[in-house]
Structure formats: C-alpha cells, structure tokens
C-alpha cells in the first residue's frame, strides 16, 4: 500500500500537470480550489482524473469539506 506521502505526491503531480501549475508551487497543505483556481466543474474533472489514475471509486460527497491536498490524499489512500 502506498504511503500517505506517496499518494500526496502523486496527487500534487497530477494536479500540477493537468492545471498547468508548476509542481514546485504546490504544497500538501494548499487549498486546491484557491491554488489551482478551479470551480466546481473543474473539481469534478480533478476527481475523475484521480479515480482514473488510482483506479478507485471516490464518491464526490467524500470531497465535502476537503480543500487541501493532504486531506484529499488521505481520503484517496483509504480507498486504495
């Protein structure tokens, strides 16, 4: 099983690559809505990319209240 740190790093890389933000500008505690400048539709896009990348099902209600990469990664890890 991947560690939380590994999952967080993969999420940061995925987000940086897709939303064209330099990886070095993202850190685990960043608010991904603010840092990536994304709206609800783009958040769904990120969710789908996460599901496809990690081969998991991630119900969108589990995103409720989650805004930083580290917590997001922890939710993902719980589904791996």
């Amino acid at each position: 099983m991947q560690s939380l740190q590994e999952v967080t790093e993969e999420v940061l890389r995925l987000a940086a690559s897709h939303f064209h933000v330099p990886r070095a500008q993202l850190s685990p505690d960043d608010d991904f809505f603010k840092k990536l400048g994304i709206d609800s539709l783009q958040a769904l896009d990120l969710l789908t990319r996460i599901e496809n990348h990690f081969h998991i099902e991630f119900p969108d209600y589990e995103l409720q209240g989650v805004s930083d990469f580290r917590t997001l990664a922890a939710r993902i890890q719980a589904r791996l």
Partner: protein, 267 residues
C-alpha cells in the same frame, strides 16, 4: 432533414446521419430556450426522418454534455409567481420536455449520445433518451436532484428502470453521487468508453456501421427491444410536481442559486 442553427443547439445532416450539437455555455443547462429548440428538433425528426439512419447527439462545450435543468432560470421565473402558478409552470415545462424526449426515445432511427465531462440530471436524462451512450473516459454521470428535495423530472428514472438493474438505479438516485465512465460502463449505462476527446469519433464510426443495415429491420429491432415506459413517465411528472410544491424545495433552490461555495451542487 434540413439543417438548423439555433442559439443553444444546432443540427446538420451528414450523409444520412443527423448530428445534433448542444452549444449553450457554460454547460448546456436546459431552460426554455433549449426546450424550444429541442421541440423544433423533435418536430423535424418526426416529419423528416425518412432519409435518416442515425442520430448523434453531442456537446460543443468543454465542460461536458449537459449539467441538466437550468436551475437559476427555474428559480428566477418561479419567484414572482404564486404557489399554484409555479407548479402549473413546472408541470407544463415537464410535459413539453417529456414530449421531446419521448419522440427521441421512440424515433425510428438509431440514436447515440456521445458524451464527455459533466452529464448530470436533465443532461443524463437527455442522453438516456438515446439508444446508445458512448462516453469518453472523463465523463461523469449523476442524478443530484435529491440534494434539492426533488427527483429527476425529465424521464430519467423510468428510463433507467427500463435499462438497468434496480440496484444501480437506487445507487444513482438515493446517494446522488456521480459515476465515472468506467463505472457507468460496468453498470450497463455506457455502451462504449473511449479515450479523452474521442467519443464523437467513436459515435460517427458506430453510425457508419448502423447505416449498413436494412432500415425496416433496424426499426423493427428497436421497437422490439425498447418499449417506452409511458405510465411511469406520467407518474414521474406527478411525483415531481408534488415534491416541487413543498417550501423546502424553494429554499434548496434559493441556496443553490445564491451559493458562493466552490462546490454548490453538494448539499
């Protein structure tokens, strides 16, 4: 069938295949303007489909196929009205959209929805009126209506009940969660999944295959396997209107419309 270019959608005849393109930003929300143009499309489909073998429905906007009913318009239009007038207005809208989707559902041609991105609520119901759904791997499907205190109103539940196992219908309806394309394909909702941005190409290839078949046989086969659930569709309108009459729904709509949250579709 003649071509048409509208403000929310357009269609053209590509050698016997009608391509209906939705192009209302931000995500093909279905309000009165879209309904009127869909009605025009349904009329043309009924009267001019003799030279047509297939229909492909797709979206030209990047966010997705359709985010469903235009809730902001619904809220804005219903605000000045008294309760009875609000319900009458909603009932009329539903009856009109049902006529359109029933026409597409029963059309004597093979129909394909080529979808990507957000395919939610009324957008999913529009796709469900087609015989086949071809989705790119970034498509997401959802019935979020329970979050507003409503059920899907454009014929979604009767069509899902017809097409899928009841467990999947319950999952989509009662949790309000969204399925990705792989999950939707595993559930039987999606017939083909493609790479990102490839659903329209795959739909065109499928339509080309359909054109090889004898038209009368294709019509007979479709009628044999695809009954229209008219009684359930009528009951859906009644149940929707009953739920819509509750004050809690108006509150939910207001909250959604006025929300500044990053993810307003979540309750």
């Amino acid at each position: 069938m003649k071509s048409f270019a509208g403000t929310t959608l357009s269609w053209e005849n590509a050698n016997g295949v009608i391509e209906l393109k939705l192009h209302r930003e931000p995500c093909n929300e279905i309000g009165l303007a879209t309904l009127e143009e869909l009605e025009r499309f349904a009329e043309a489909l009924e009267s001019e489909s003799k030279d047509i073998a297939a229909l492909i429905m797709y979206s030209g906007v990047s966010a997705g196929f359709s985010a469903g009913a235009d809730l902001r318009e619904l809220y804005r239009r219903s605000q000045p009205l008294r309760a009875a007038e609000r319900i009458a207005g909603v009932r009329e809208f539903l009856q009109r959209i049902h006529r359109v989707l029933n026409t597409i559902d029963a059309a004597p041609i093979t129909t394909i929805a080529a979808v990507h991105g957000v395919t939610f609520g009324g957008g999913l119901e529009l796709a469900l009126s087609c015989d086949l759904i071809i989705a790119d791997k970034m498509a997401r499907f959802c019935f979020p209506e329970l979050r507003l205190g409503l059920i899907p109103g454009f014929g979604g539940i009767p069509r899902l009940k017809r097409d899928l196992g009841n467990g999947v219908v319950r999952d989509l309806l009662l949790t309000g969660r969204s399925f990705n394309a792989a999950k939707a394909q595993a559930a039987g909702l999606v017939s083909q999944m493609t790479a990102e941005g490839e659903s329209l190409r795959a739909a065109r290839a499928t339509a080309a295959q359909i054109q090889k078949f004898d038209r009368e046989t294709a019509i007979a086969a479709k009628r044999f396997v695809k009954p229209i659930p008219y009684e359930d569709l009528r009951r859906e309108i009644e149940l929707f209107c009953e739920l819509f009459s509750r004050p809690a729904v108006e509150e939910s709509l207001k909250k959604f419309v006025e929300s500044a949250d990053a993810m307003p579709y979540l309750p």
